[in-house]
Symmetry: none
């Protein structure tokens, strides 16, 4: 009996948590889409309507806008950082750097406006910068160091500079037909420039 009751209790709690998680997920998905379309400053309503939820729900789970942005990026930032490890052992230093930057481009370029958020001075975005600093910067630094050690690149571009420069190059300019393809090409040129630093 006691066991059964406890199970029921657990079941209930888990169920609620599952529903809430579904909503959180829906909000993140919706936010990702809306961010890509209208930028990270899009009205909250646009996001909640797309998710089929009330604004209150958004504010419950993501009190500040930065929390939502961070929520959208978190996993991808971590995955990207982890990927660097694999690439270091799989490829020659400069090739690994190139390959990893390509992956980083996917992360940043496919989210219109996130690059913008990344650049905000608003203290609310601290978490975002921290995450980048903690996870992405060491990854980039390691790849740069490898390539340096192998004599494949010169100059003194830091990991931080690389990340933000590539982030900037990944913003689309719709009015000038400057899109993802152009972003990629420009990043390639930039990475090429590291060799002749």
């Amino acid at each position: 009996m006691t066991t059964a009751e406890q199970r029921t209790g657990e079941g209930r709690q888990r169920r609620r948590r599952v529903d809430a998680e579904r909503n959180v997920h829906a909000l993140l998905e919706s936010a990702k889409a809306v961010f890509a379309r209208s930028g990270v400053d899009a009205p909250a309503r646009e996001i909640t309507d797309a998710a089929g939820l009330g604004v209150g729900t958004l504010y419950r789970h993501f009190p500040r806008r930065a929390d939502l942005i961070l929520g959208v990026l978190q996993h991808e930032i971590d995955a990207c950082a982890d990927a660097a490890l694999a690439m270091r052992s799989d490829e020659a230093p400069y090739a690994a750097l190139r390959a990893w930057v390509e992956q980083y481009v996917e992360l940043v370029a496919t989210k219109r406006g996130l690059a913008g958020a990344l650049h905000s001075a608003d203290p609310a975005f601290e978490g975002l910068h921290d995450r980048v600093t903690e996870r992405l910067e060491p990854a980039a630094a390691a790849l740069l160091a490898d390539a340096h050690a192998a004599g494949e690149i010169t100059g003194d571009v830091s990991a931080r500079e690389l990340l933000y420069a590539v982030g900037l190059l990944c913003q689309p300019v719709p009015a000038a037909d400057f899109g993802l393809a152009e972003n990629r090409r420009m990043v390639e040129v930039f990475v090429g420039g590291l060799r002749s630093g």
Copy 2:
């Protein structure tokens, strides 16, 4: 009598025209300063207050925000385009390209947010893109062509790509201590990348 009246009329008109021009100038100067400080989306009041004029005056001369931005950039865009000519004859092709890009960086980097405006899909900014296309693109194209002909660069980066890529690299990222100095360094790396395209 008639003559006198006409003179009076003319005098007034001329006076007004002169006054109006003074105001337009004051607004452009003020806008340039405010854009640099608070970005191109700064409240209209910030600009008119700094110019010591009323908001109505701003709207009379620059009905849409894009008109004001274009007004601010116009002269500098033209000057920058004209400078290319001088550089072509004065320096070796790649050196000329580098030097001109440096000048272009001054144009874009010193106006926080203008780069952003340059990238907006808002149809209101058409005029801006047109100006860039008409004046800057030919200048950049000529310099690129020279360098290509001299075998100093390879690859197929277009003038338009060069302009927008450099424009993107010129945005500051205050939260990451990524400022004008970094902008310049990153542009250098990018231009270096043109050689190894």
Copy 3:
């Protein structure tokens, strides 16, 4: 079997009743504390969090805010009314009146905002006024009548007036450093004024 089932049923019911009472008690205690700190309009969450319960539980037991306020005050109102009886026989009339008012001050002054609720025109607070009328007013009236009969006070201040006047004097004015000590002193002056009415 039947008996066993009934017993189980009763057991559960009793258990629930006991738990529910515990919750009601926890909510009243928490509400008392929160009312004292943040006033009677404090967010429901503040109360439930402090009680370690869900908001739903609060609404089950106290559907309207007034129900909660009444719940908090009920016992104290009754105790205060009962105290009047003891005081009447223990002390000289005016002294008894003073002593009782002091006790009433404790009731009202230590619950920031309750005085305010007491004064609301909101029909939801009817119950509160009723309780005051039914329990406190007769007590105050008796003490006033005694003092009158003894010739220790004059004037025609009614029991109701006394109660509400003292209630008003018991509100703190934080911005003016006007707190409980001042409340007490002002009430003393007021009660002194009854003599010279």
Copy 4:
């Protein structure tokens, strides 16, 4: 000509200022009425609708709620303070004190909820407290000192305490049929209490 132009200029400015002043006045009148009916926390819309103006106009002239409250009270506070002077010379000390308090009651009692604002700890209301401190407190202090000197009152109730105590006694309690008449009577009792302090 120059003179005529300047006059026109002045006329225009004055005209605009006059219109704006009319609006400011309308807002203050409306606010006074709304404050009296719904308290000083009434929605901004209620005030602007009653004044026939847009919310923006309210915020232009009274950016913070406290500014509006202060605007409503300012003149009356000053007038009340000035009246004290006349009373000191016209009447016997205690009589003057009584008369002045009666006038103060008119100031506070006829504005439901202003008393509440007077008591807020919100830093936005500093201006209000300051005004009371600067204007009303000296007036009350002088009257109290006179009465003390004349031996007509005893005790050590300060000017500040008098002001806030009377302010508190002037709040109506609609649900208990405790209105302006009762406010006045209770204040009388309180002032009577100063004699027997």
